[in-house]
Amino acid sequence: MTAVLETITILTHAETELINITPEVRGIVEKSGIKNGTVFILSRHTTTGITVNEGLPDLEMDIAELITHLVPEKNSYHHARFLHSDGQNAINAVAHLRGALLGFEVFFPIENGKIVSGDRQTIYFVELDGPQERKYSVQVTGE
């Protein structure tokens, strides 16, 4: 079995933002040369998410608005204090909780060198505490 790992760096623009990373993931799978196996996509952060949905701007807005509504900013959170390990005021509990709702990873099977997915499935990196420099890793395993 072969395993190929690539880490992609992106600069996000907004506090909440869905970024279509499907072309990048497909490119890494094709470049890996692996014909049959699995691709794993993992965010390297705890205030982001990885999700899959239909690639439409209206749905992107709906997802962003839903997670914002589900985890409102004006609420009492434990994670709202000076964080000595960072030297920062930790005031981003909402970003952590929104990330927990979305999840941080997805995977797809690979067959004949291509990702096996529905026609409308789009892979999103979801920024939840931007703008920031962010990383996600793509691991392709198989033969």
Binding site: E73, A80, R81, N92
Partner: protein
């Protein structure tokens, strides 16, 4: 909108240019998270609705043998982007401080003086060292921003940062505008007292001590001071500041917008007062 209180220290390009910067920032300033590209600083401003940011350096030569960062670095950042407004910092304990300040203003084009007695470890009653600096500020009509109150920096000592000695300074230099950073929390009453009495004493809003920005503003503005006091007596003497990146700009802006201040006062805090201190054309901001 102007953010009057930012620290240009977690910028990747500064780390690339100075191999010792990481150690200095960790040990002295106490930031322990990854630096970000300069572009992210600008995007954070965009996301928060901040048009311009005051960049504050800090000269800790005597106390900690470092500058975080230097006046030259700030001037370079300002030259690269017109949305930055650079302040100077000098070490008052050095005999060459007045000459350095003069050069920072005239040669580097810096537009204010930043002092942090808690981290620079000088006494605000040391008038022999401080008066020549404030005289230069008066001559060039530039404001002075002084850290007061709690210092999150691991080597900062709050005993140097009580605001009361500023009364004599404000009396001695009536033409100099002094900005008390952080509302001097926890010495908010003393800081407010000075601002109430002296028209040349201002307060910046970088007061996050616990909780979210909204919760901190609610505690200090609503419960400690009272919104009416801010609206009636201090509307021309408060400037918006975030202490970025100790606190993010976005949530600081929303926090102050949600605390119940009038739109008129928010306009003074975000636009008019900082523009007045920096002698900017308000319509541009």
């Amino acid at each position: 909108m102007i953010d009057f209180h930012t620290h240009p220290v977690m910028i990747r390009e500064l780390y690339d240019a100075n191999p010792d910067f990481d150690r200095i920032v960790n040990d002295v300033f106490g930031f322990h998270f990854p630096p970000q590209p300069l572009e992210i600083f600008l995007r954070e401003m965009d996301a928060a609705g901040v048009d311009a940011a005051v960049l504050l350096p800090l000269d800790c030569t005597t106390a900690h043998s470092c500058k975080i960062p230097s006046n030259e670095v700030v001037a370079d950042l300002v030259e690269k982007n017109q949305r930055f407004i650079g302040f100077a910092s000098v070490d008052p304990l050095l005999t060459e401080a007045p000459r350095q300040l003069e050069r920072a203003i005239t040669s580097l084009g810096l537009r204010g003086l930043k002092l942090d007695p808690a981290l620079q470890r000088f006494d605000l009653t040391n008038r022999e060292r401080l008066d020549p600096l404030f005289s230069i500020c008066a001559e060039h009509a530039i404001p002075v921003l002084i850290h007061c109150g709690l210092s999150w920096a691991p080597l900062g000592q709050a005993k140097y940062a009580h605001p009361l000695p500023l009364e004599e300074i404000a009396q001695a230099h009536p033409s100099v505008n002094f900005v008390i950073a952080h509302f001097a929390w926890p010495w908010v009453n003393e800081a407010v007292m000075l601002a109430l009495k002296y028209r040349n004493v201002y307060l910046d809003t970088a007061i996050i001590f616990s909780g979210t920005p909204w919760e901190a503003f609610e505690q200090v503005f609503q419960k400690n001071i009272g919104l009416l006091t801010l609206e009636r007596s201090l509307y021309q003497q408060i400037v918006f500041g975030t202490n970025y990146p100790r606190t993010d700009m976005r949530r600081s802006v929303r926090g102050i917008q949600q605390v119940g201040l009038s739109q008129s006062l928010l306009d003074f805090i975000f636009h008019k007062n900082p523009s007045h201190l920096l002698k900017l054309k308000q319509e541009a901001l």
